[in-house]
């Protein structure tokens, strides 16, 4: 479904990604692990088109997407959930959800479905985006992206900065979404939520991929975990 080949991405003149390659198949959940500054967020920004790679190729469903503006990439079926959540502060919770609504054939997400997955958001409907706790904001940012009815969901550190109990809830909710058949790419620096949800893992450091394999294989490779993940 997603095929990333040898991408090199930059912020201005600083070279961040050095030939990253990986793939995600339909229906899979894949995690991208690596410590702070490894280049995970940059990889996601490269995919959605916010930081387009200078070279390499990214194919989504067989079509090249490098060079397309972010809104086109999103319309093709990629949903991006940013690490800093980026809730629109002047919009209510309900408006934050509805502003992203995009209907097309095969669309499964509407307000009712969002509210049954995240009941908390319904009770906060009329609150402004800024009046939410961290966990509520995280639910809202996921809900907002789901309203675009994506086929591939990019989740950047969905558990970052949340209390352990809230992380568990988020993990359950993401599990439900996965069961609906959504393909997921999750990145994280502390191995937890992502690894529980995923089928396969890539480990990256300093803008390069250093390991790929199933979750079981990753669990066996203690030296990879020690060297790149500090666990």
């Amino acid at each position: 479904m997603l095929e990333v080949k040898e991408i090199h991405s930059y912020y201005g003149t600083s070279h961040i990604l050095f030939g990253i390659s990986f793939g995600v198949k339909e229906g899979e959940a894949v995690c991208l692990l690596g410590r702070n500054g490894a280049g995970k967020t940059t990889t996601f920004r490269s995919i959605i088109g916010l930081t387009p790679p200078k070279s390499g190729s990214i194919q989504f469903r067989g079509k090249e997407i490098i060079g397309k503006p972010p809104y086109r990439i999103a319309q093709m079926g990629i949903g991006y959930v940013p690490d800093t959540r980026r809730i629109f502060p002047d919009l209510t919770v309900r408006q934050n959800i509805l502003v992203a609504r995009r209907e097309h054939k095969g669309a499964i997400w509407d307000l009712d479905r969002i509210y049954s997955l995240f009941p908390k958001l319904q009770s906060l409907e009329t609150h402004m985006g800024t009046q939410l706790s961290g966990g509520e904001q995280q639910m809202l940012t996921v809900a907002r992206t789901l309203m675009t009815n994506p086929e591939l969901l990019l989740l950047d550190e969905p558990g970052e900065g949340l209390a352990p109990l809230v992380i568990k809830t988020m993990e359950q909710q993401l599990g439900e979404i996965k069961k609906l058949g959504l393909t997921m790419l999750i990145c994280e620096h502390n191995v937890g939520l992502a690894i529980n949800l995923s089928d396969r893992a890539y480990v990256m450091d300093k803008g390069m991929i250093h390991f790929q394999g199933t979750i079981d294989e990753l669990k066996k490779h203690e030296e990879v975990r020690k060297k790149y993940l500090m666990v």
Partner: protein, 293 residues
Amino acid sequence: MSFDVLFSQFMSGIARGALLFLVASGLSLTFGVLRVLNFAHGSLYMLGAFLSYSIWKFLLMPVLGFYLAAVIAALIMGGVGMIIEFGLLRRLYARGWPEQLLATYAIILIITDLVKWAWGGEFLSIPRPRPFTGAVFLFGFPFPSYNFFIIILGLGLVVFLWWLVYKTRLGDIIRAAAQDREMVSALGIPIPWLFTWIFVLGAAIAGLSGAVTAPFGSVALGMDIEIIIECFAVVVIGGMGSLPGTLLGAFIVGQVYAFGILFKPELALAFIFMVMAVVLIIRPWGIFGRPER
């Protein structure tokens, strides 16, 4: 100072404020969403005024002619706005302020020369349209009823923009994009089209405002710079990109001007900028504005 003088200055300040709101609202909306300060906004206003004059002359219709000319001029200016956004501005969003300033300044020069070439340097004017030819009496004092037309139009625009920005899905997108256009784009919303239509709307409002000033005084070269200076004062005082801020700013500038003229006509503009300076010292981002992130 007698009550009738004060009251009449107050009312003329209200009318002036309404006109300033008409023009400044487009400027503020474009800035709020596109983050481009369009110095040529006053030129769109001027071109709208000249266009409506010619359309009015061409139509030769007794009552409806004026209103029809104003609407047509607004539509044409919307089209001009589309050409400007598509041909020039969208290349400049990623650039810095100096380039944006130069480019919009170039538009000012182009429109000025265009107007000189097409209409010459004369003062043009349209008589007040019916039913706003006479006077209205308030507390026994007469006021030109055309002023009330401008005030009603200004209030109408306030309601329309409020509805658009706060009550529609497009308004949700506008407010979201004003804060985080990158995220809006990542949600699949075509930002380039949004920007084009916002600019078209701003240009059409500028054109309409120009058209309705024709019966006020004179349509002439230089009206562009005159209005844009006061509009900047309005949006700086009220807060760039804020609708209630633009309304309050227009009210304040209108009043300061009206009473400034009463005390020292030569300094009316200076008074406006003194108020602006005070606001800038106390609240650099304007009364309803927000500090830049």
